[in-house]
Symmetry: D2
Subunit: 308 residues, 4 copies
């Protein structure tokens, strides 16, 4: 067994850039700080590899926490080729895009009093019920323009909604022509609204229609890379799609707060994905354990400092 480079003690300077901070942490190179620096290196390599198709998986309550701006900017600037999201993040993206807001609150807010004040809590973020009224109006209006009797895919439905918005993740993805996949769309406020619409209108959303789309992208990719924010359905859906091809992902960066020893996919290391062939044997991968409201801004700010 051999040792690698010596750990360099970190020295910080006033006014230093995020990129410089990450380089200092990387020269130390231990624990999740080391993983963070490695994530920046791999994500930079992946974005600069013009032959790589870039997948972005988005789970966790990221948009209510203000992380949506980072995602839509990445899409706007051409750093995302395929987006796979939970329905919740798209719900909250629409809420912001139609002019409503999430608000700072308290994680120890009294939930019964919040209920009586018609405020919904997401840890320390508050979302008044009013927002869902505007949301309902927007969605029912947009759904109303769907062609009666048609059979569409989930990504068709999301593209339709994004076309009616002026900002945010869905809007930007549609404007840039990026496909948006959301396998569990029913499991969200968008899903509940569509169920309401479906009570009186017949539009069929084919659950499996999008699989051809994502698998074709996997087949067509010269190389593929994934940035996985959280785990959940987006992580697995991205990784499993590659199973249908001869290849695996060449790059993968995961930011997660879960832990591997519970066995669940959300906390699983990307090494585990190698055994399945979802990730190439010699792929560059790293998992950073921590809260993505810290690790995502760090990752993207540092990479932007390098590739601009």
């Amino acid at each position: 067994m051999e040792c690698g480079d010596p750990v360099q003690q970190v020295h910080l300077t006033s006014g230093m850039s995020v990129d410089a901070l990450i380089r200092a942490i990387g020269n130390a190179g231990a624990y999740n700080g080391g993983a963070m620096a490695e994530a920046v290196r791999i994500y930079e390599t992946m974005l600069e590899d013009s032959g790589a198709t870039r997948f972005l998986g988005l789970a966790g309550a990221m948009v209510p926490a203000g992380m949506g701006g980072i995602i839509s900017d990445l899409i706007r600037d051409g750093y995302v080729d395929v987006l796979v999201s939970t329905g919740a993040n798209l719900t909250h993206d629409i809420i912001e895009a139609i002019g409503c807001h999430h608000y700072k609150g308290s994680s120890s807010g009294n939930d019964v009093e919040l209920r009586q004040s018609e405020i919904n809590r997401i840890y320390d973020i508050y979302l008044p019920n009013d927002a869902f009224s505007v949301f309902e109006e927007f969605l029912q209006g947009s759904f109303g323009k769907l062609k009666p009797g048609s059979v569409i895919s989930i990504s068709d439905l999301l593209r339709h909604l994004g076309g009616d918005l002026k900002s945010g993740i869905l809007h930007t993805a549609v404007r840039k022509g990026i496909p948006i996949f959301c396998p569990a769309i029913q499991d969200s406020m968008i899903g509940l609204q569509f169920w309401l619409y479906n009570q009186t209108h017949r539009v069929t959303v084919d659950a499996f229609a999008d699989m051809k789309g994502i698998i074709d992208i996997c087949f067509d990719a010269e190389r593929a890379g994934a940035l996985l924010i959280g785990g959940g359905v987006p992580k697995n859906f991205i990784l499993q799609s590659m199973l249908m091809t001869e290849n695996g992902f060449s790059y993968a960066v995961q930011l997660t707060g879960d832990r591997p020893d519970l066995g669940g996919l959300s906390g699983a290391t990307l090494d585990e994905a190698r055994s399945w062939g979802k990730v190439e044997e010699d792929a560059e991968t790293v998992t950073v354990y921590g809260d993505a409201t810290i690790t995502l801004p760090l990752l993207v700010a540092a990479v932007r400092g390098r590739i601009s």
Copy 2:
């Protein structure tokens, strides 16, 4: 502010039953041990409330870890009225039901060598690729009996598969007439196999068709209770379905290894669900943080010791 009952120091006896152990931990009543005892009490109350409709949410890689037997026994014995699962758990349930096995392995197994040995790793569990060949044969055979051109729901598809099995969760649910919901069915090996089938056969799975089913159950429930194993899509899909009614869940027990401060729903407390109205203001709820391969057997063994 006032103190509750004194903490009673725990004394254990040789050969004691699980129920007695939980009572001793409950008399201490601290941290997750206290929550565990409270979970047993609430789950017992919920199962003994004949007016309560019982939902079971199943996330995490539970079937590969041997927890599937506990779930199918609960269904067999009438303790589950509605099952919401991830696609992965149903995939692994089918694998066991068709005579294949998961195997004990090592969490530090070399993933490149595992890949070369055609063994897939789930933390410290191994699953040989062979199982997926038998799985493919079974699924394609079963899919082949679907009516060409039909439009079905996800629960229809799962009921169809369960009807062709002889044991396990899906089989038992079908035999007992319990609906099985799996919003993100595409996000699983079942999904990939259906996509293969769909390449040459036209059967449409309507993504939203099941929402009427679960919401009707919510409307019809006198009271409702939920046992949530892990978080993910099953937790949210169960809780959100109640939003369409005037009521919330009266009982809810969650076993999760996540943490609340990351903001994600999987780790969120059930108090948070009160602010949304998913859970009644005066509902009996508890979250036990820990690995469900420990907390689920403990919960169910203790409750079985009480209600038999």
Copy 3:
């Protein structure tokens, strides 16, 4: 790479014993459930190895949570040869032994109101200030019997206190002649009380006097085993003491809620201890990640079911 035994799906029976539950979980054998069953097997082996010296490390707020009874019973029944504890656990052990109590409370109790009610909070456990008045009286009385001008070790001081008690961990350890080490005794209410006493009385506690004691025990041990509840000072102090000998621990079981990727010793795997030689190359070791208010009662109840 090869697979081990097949995972056996868990089936639970009404009234089953804790030992039977652990055997069922062990036949599944995954994640922390599998580790729990392995911990029972190793701890049983360690207790039945008459040539093994058994160390117990006690960290975390275990006594306030009612876990003290398990520990004192283990000592009473001869299953502990050396105890290393944090000062806090010994403080709370004395509080219980002098007839005061910890009480059930709420993790969301308002801490400012608690302060005003003179109640101290430990997560969801409450401890009224009154207890510290009785504690002060007991300690100052007991300290008053120390020989003025003497130089004693920390274990001498703890033995002195235990001799004045009628129940609990300290009392039982003294009655059984078991040495109690507590390197950071100053870092506790016992420490603060001793400082008060020291203001007006001269008794010197030699910080290093106990090292000879624990290292001699390590030298004399034919084989050594450790049950580590939590990490902290007790874990390291036990493991490092063996470094001075040619040997390492032959058995080690750790119950911890920490995680390894943060680099701290409390969450470190026992494999890491092999590289240091603290643990033998072929030692039987396992770490169970979870809340010790669940895993400790499970471990001890199951082992008691086997060795009685």
Copy 4:
């Protein structure tokens, strides 16, 4: 119940400073990202309050991970008035100060092979045994200059060692006249070396002699603030020392990877400390959950960007 400010979606720019990043995260203000921004604000306030005595608690394996440079720079620049550390961090600080290094390694390194290569592992950091030979030579040499028969405090011993060093935390603290407390000094390689020395030389280290020092500092403080890196003995020793006065801490920032629901002090919120009076009722406090190899550099780089 009322909502606070709206969450502002985060937008990142190329080359942005760490301070600007933290301001952007703070304008979002959710989960641990929000706590991180709050930690920067409170730590800045604390450092700019000229009437505040600043305590630094250092636990976890921080020096092997390169975080020692940040700590010694903070001391050098006058931002620390009292240091409380684990013995392990001071051990590794000495190792670096005498010219040895920690090295980058792998968390999946084979520990038996590492043992045979005489390399010690700390998660993904390697430390060759050679370093301990140099360490032993330095320590025994330095100890040899202690006055035979003397009775000293732990901080005396550490000041003595620091005086023989040319760089690092101990050296800088001594040079700046900052007291260093380490209640569990025995629980470290320094402790083992002192035990060796004590075999043949009589120098007595009085375990309680330092309590007067830290408690006097608490009495003399107009206001007090604490930066707590990890939990363990340093966190409690700092907080409990204030219990002897009428006052509590006015500022407290904790960076920890533990979780509160396990009941242990390391993961406990600083709110809990309010009930004990360790922290003032109206104190400004925040806990950031995450790996300190990420959160500590972020905190200090951002604060340095503001106070310079």
